[in-house]
Symmetry: D2
Subunit: 110 residues, 4 copies
Amino acid sequence: MQNPSPQMQRCIEACLKCYQACFGTAMNHCLESGGQHTEPAHFRLMIACSEICRTSAHFMLMNSEHHTHVCRECAEICEQCANDCERIGDMDACVSACRDCAAECRKMAG
Amino acid sequence: MQNPSPQMQRCIEACLKCYQACFGTAMNHCLESGGQHTEPAHFRLMIACSEICRTSAHFMLMNSEHHTHVCRECAEICEQCANDCERIGDMDACVSACRDCAAECRKMAG
Amino acid sequence: MQNPSPQMQRCIEACLKCYQACFGTAMNHCLESGGQHTEPAHFRLMIACSEICRTSAHFMLMNSEHHTHVCRECAEICEQCANDCERIGDMDACVSACRDCAAECRKMAG
Amino acid sequence: MQNPSPQMQRCIEACLKCYQACFGTAMNHCLESGGQHTEPAHFRLMIACSEICRTSAHFMLMNSEHHTHVCRECAEICEQCANDCERIGDMDACVSACRDCAAECRKMAG
């Protein structure tokens, strides 16, 4: 297999780490905490973030030229999710994973 | 459940129909036919198309405001996939599902 | 494309319908209703159900011989999800989609 | 977020690594090599393997009790995929990722 470039590989890993952080936090910490954590707009954003990260990784793994657009959208959603997790608090791992992923995705978006 | 609007519901259905047509055709007809059908650029496009359709449906089902951007990307990939399937031939169901999906996604993209 | 058998096609459709009902209801009705609807065990079951339905459809679409095991697991999760939605109430579309999907998946599980 | 147990965390990582290896190899090395690599049974198995790995990780991340059954199925498909990649040759990273994932999934399957 012709391996992805080191930069793409870092982005794939950032996407899959962010997917894990957001989906795992939403389905455990958020559901168990309730209150602001299950407020529809916040919870949807975390699930949307985890899904676009999963999709971005998929597009990069298959070397689709369309990964640039998907990564651009991923960066935008991750940034918004980081801000919302920061606002609510108590989700530092998500904030950090989202910020890292947004930064890597912006590089791939060209 | 507050149902999606009729227009969004039509788009969700077009996405899931296109997902089925492209993924099913790639993994059966294309793999079994070989030749142009498994040429990397074509095969990747079909898998990319099926994946973005799956993701678009997911974003609309959860009522994420970000569905507009995902639908715009979906319309673009579906249009390209329709053209490539037409060029190779023998994949009328894909061409038609991709064209329908592109049209519905463009309406959602606003 | 050699089409799936009519029975498999019905199962694919039942899976994708159940995916839509469970994921859409969880991310809209359940999040907006709160209370029992966002109780972790219930909400996780709805998301698990939507995910295994998505995966079962994927395995059947690609004609993987392993669809029999995935469909068996899908039938089990759908049945449990139908019962839990019935217990909480107010989710008739999910109950019905889960029961249909469980019935179709049991036929595919052989 | 109550973190997954160290054993579950190792399994999630093994699943996501195997997903990357199988999907990336199928969509690049296999498509570009052709011949045995795009023989339908082999190619489908690699895609099935990548998909069940993605689903297993999803079930563990959400702490669904059903992860035990999904992990059992994942172990079986990974083992079969490892053997098939070994038979064809030239896919050592897949063989190794599949074997690791099968071993971790068997521990989770109980």
